[in-house]
């Protein structure tokens, strides 16, 4: 899923300062699962904003609304009947959602309430961890199913580097060395011979280096 962190209340206040009517828009997918931008978090931020405005004597109208996904226009369409009543949409979706809402309502200002951080997994209730950077050419088959792009601080294709110590990465003693994980896993799988093979220079044009990416599947187009 896509994981994010909520922006600080102070930062949010600064963004919405010029406005009096705010539509706080949540998303039911990834950001709900990582407890940052679903219906509950919309409720909490709305409540904080109401408490703040009451305390400051500032006029501020907040409407709470959460849609299924902010990355599909069918769902974004569902707010069309009332979106014009608000000066600004404060979106609690990932950056993709924020942008897509803005694309559908070109006369509305759309602001991000969260910082989108990574593609990851739920380690345990309340803890999420990065796993993939969407490089466009997956090499998990060569690395024991552990991603060196996302889990090695240097995204080394042939590691570890000299900074690895006791299985931890040099950037942070709490962080596992991605390459140590790969070696351990290959050992477990009896595939250590794979480690001997040098992974060639990666073609980063399938990643961000090739510019914004797009996928078209002709057979599913209408």
């Amino acid at each position: 899923m896509i994981v994010g962190n909520r922006k600080s209340f102070e930062e949010i206040l600064e963004m919405i300062k010029p406005y009096r009517r705010v539509l706080l828009l949540g998303c039911n997918e990834c950001v709900t699962v990582c407890a940052v931008g679903g219906e509950r978090e919309v409720g909490v931020l709305a409540s904080e904003l109401r408490l703040w405005s009451a305390k400051e004597g500032q006029e501020l109208e907040i409407r709470e609304h959460t849609i299924e996904r902010q990355c599909d226009h069918e769902y974004i369409d569902q707010i069309r009947s009332f979106v014009d009543e608000y000066e600004v949409i404060l979106s609690m979706a990932c950056g993709a959602g924020v942008q897509y809402v803005a694309e559908q309502y070109r006369t509305r200002i759309v602001l991000p309430a969260i910082n989108t951080t990574f593609l990851g997994v739920t380690l345990e209730q309340g803890v999420w961890s990065e796993r993939c950077q969407g490089c466009g050419t997956c090499i998990l088959d060569k690395t024991g199913g552990i991603c060196p792009i996302a889990r090695c601080a240097k995204s080394l294709l042939n590691g570890p580097c000299g900074g690895a110590s006791n299985g931890k990465c040099e950037v942070d003693k709490e962080t596992d060395c991605g390459w140590q994980l790969i070696v351990d896993r290959l050992k477990e799988l009896g595939q250590l011979d794979q480690y001997e093979e040098i992974i060639p220079i990666k073609d980063w044009s399938t990643s961000r280096d090739g510019g914004p990416r797009k996928r078209v599947r002709e057979d599913s187009r209408l």
Binding site: S8, F9, E10, R40, G43, V44, S47, E48, L49, R50, L51, W52, A54, K55, E56, G57, E61
Partner: protein
Amino acid sequence: MRLHYPTNVKIAKIPCTGRVDNLLILKAFESGVDGVYLAGCLEGECHFLEGNLRARKRVEYVKSLLDEVGLGGARLEMYNMSSAQGQRFAEVAREMTEKIRALGPSPVRKKVKG
């Protein structure tokens, strides 16, 4: 046992403090109360094992939210007591009342638009 505790304390009964979610506490403040405290069972004695420990974590989190919005986290507290500690219950009610009185009325009292 006929114990007296301040009449300003209004009790909201819940099955376990583990039921108290962040929004529930914020809503209480939106309704204009001056302070909120949770009276959970003693730590280690939760019928649902960890309800009261979770509640404490949420209280800490909501305190930080109250600080952010300028109401002050001190208006929210978590206490633990057993159902046999009536004296303690009355004592906490007095303690919290005094604390909130010192902080003054909530600055949002009756001002939140629903």
